[in-house]
Amino acid sequence: MVVCIVSVIVAEDLTKQFGELVAVDSVSFAVEEGEVFGFLGPNGAGKTTTMKMIQCVSPKTAGKLTVFGMEVSTHQREIKKLLGVAPQENNLDPDFTVHENLMVYSRYFDIPRAKAERMVAELLDFIQLSHKKDTVIEQLSGGMKRRLILARALINSPRMLILDEPTIGLDPQARHLIWDKIKSLQSQGITIVLTTHYLEEAAQLCNRLVIMDYGKILVQGKPDEVIREYIGTDIVEAENDPEVIACLERNTTSYDVIGNRVQVYTNNPQEMIYSLLKECELGQITARSATLEDVFLKLTGRKLRE
């Protein structure tokens, strides 16, 4: 069988400048049909700006960007027809109820009224908001609003979904519900591009991801491959003690000092623990699996971003 991988988004040296500020600095990536592709990075890394260029609402400064094979600067309407967008900020229409929000939105896509009514009923069912059909927006909880935004993004049966921070500010229950919905949408063949600050979310959902910082892509790949490449499978942690450091230095083991802990990156935790216990005077020692968060903090640093 021939597996044909189709790239639905292709960016080459994509750049966006706001005056002097380079928000997206010559990035290249490709998103394949049917995958969940994540953009990770601290605040101001350029994730949302990249999303806005993909959805044709912010013109690129330089480079190439095609969506479904169409150039973003010339085929905005055609591209936007095929996209569903759930923005970071809630921009539901406060003048309307839940049902009216979806109906009014369906008009922008030229969906005939009868078909729209059917779609809206289905979508409200999908996001479990049928019972809130006639509620005005301001009376919805944060989680309900995010779900409604997701439903609104699906009104035109899009081929690709763009989710900018889909679970921001949600409680764990609401977050898991959104994750389930995202997985179910992927199983229907919809390509999903998302940005997130939650690394567990990215690890759970994304087939592939990039980590961005200061407008550049630092890493690109599958979550577990990225972890293995930059950290190893496991992390052995010990107390930050001059003797421990000296011992690690003697053994030329690669390590990082983070506050009062020392982290040793390894692919073989048992052996590492054994040798450390044998050769160094260790008080407390723990081993755990490496996570995306370790990669993220290693690459983007621990300094606070404004």
């Binding site: 912010s58 406060p94 003048d95 008009r107 030229d110």
Partner: protein, 261 residues
């Protein structure tokens, strides 16, 4: 660099934005239909039947008849101007309605044009509601005054574009008070509304005709309610159409510059 006078590319989708605003308007129609009904009555009683008792005739007619068409013109101005300043600003900045719409096949040009058409429609609705109220007092000529209905849309569009230009450049919602009291309020008083333009010194009359759009509105509505048509009105009408077209293009481009970054 976006040009200020690039002709916007539009499609029939502009009406979807218009429909959205109409739907919101109809949801609260009781509140919305009351002001155009009450406002002329208040002015008629206070100025026409109150103050007007001390004025026998003004330019050969009673004072109430003199101000009745001005009240329509003021209502046309206010409804479109405030819809496309405070109303549009709230939708643009606080509700992010424009952002939500441009994520669909609609363009920002179409969103702004839809807003302007809606502003003009509000003027039409208000003028249309005022006509029977004024007719009930026998203050307007019929059927000639019915021409005010289509005219109110065109004139309303002018004030919608003026409002939208201010909305596009205002740093925040409070600054929209500047055009309101520096432009709209003087116009309300000095455009031949409550006293004839001819009482003003001649240079100021020309200044008013050249720069105060309301003067042209008042001349046309007055000629229609009093059935005193003259050739000069064609100039006023041409002024309104020409200025609206220029400001329409400018408003769309200014908004594009503000929102598409």
């Amino acid at each position: 660099m976006i040009s200020y006078f690039a002709v916007p590319k539009l499609s029939s989708r502009v009406w979807k934005v218009w429909l959205r605003n109409r739907d919101v308007f109809m949801k609260t129609y009781k509140v919305n239909f009351l002001p155009p009904f009450l406002e002329p009555l208040l002015y008629l009683f206070a100025l026409g039947f109150g103050l007007g008792r001390y004025i026998d005739v003004i330019e050969g007619i009673s004072y109430v008849k003199f101000i009745a068409p001005a009240l329509i013109a003021i209502s046309i101005m206010n409804s479109a101007f405030f819809e496309c300043t405070f109303g549009s600003y709230v939708r643009m900045y606080y509700q992010k309605t424009f952002d939500a719409i441009i994520a669909t096949p609609l363009s920002i040009e179409e969103v702004i044009t839809g807003e302007l058409l809606w502003g003009a429609t509000r003027s039409l609705i208000y003028a249309t509601i005022m006509l029977p109220v004024l007719a009930a007092f026998g203050l307007i000529d019929l059927p000639l005054s019915l021409l005010i209905i289509p005219f109110s849309f065109i004139a309303g569009f002018l004030f919608a574009t003026i409002g939208m230009c201010f909305t596009a450049i205002t740093p925040n919602i409070n600054s929209l008070n500047y055009p309101t009291f520096l432009f709209i309020t003087p116009m309300f008083l000095f455009s031949g509304t409550f006293f004839p333009l001819s009482l003003l010194p001649e240079p100021i009359q020309y200044f008013a005709l050249a720069t105060l759009p309301l003067t042209h509105l008042v001349m046309i509505t007055r000629a229609l309610t009093l059935a005193t048509l003259s050739g000069f009105l064609v100039l006023s009408f041409a002024w309104i159409v020409l200025v609206s077209l220029v400001l329409f293009v400018l408003a769309v481009n200014l908004m594009k510059r503000r929102l598409i970054v």
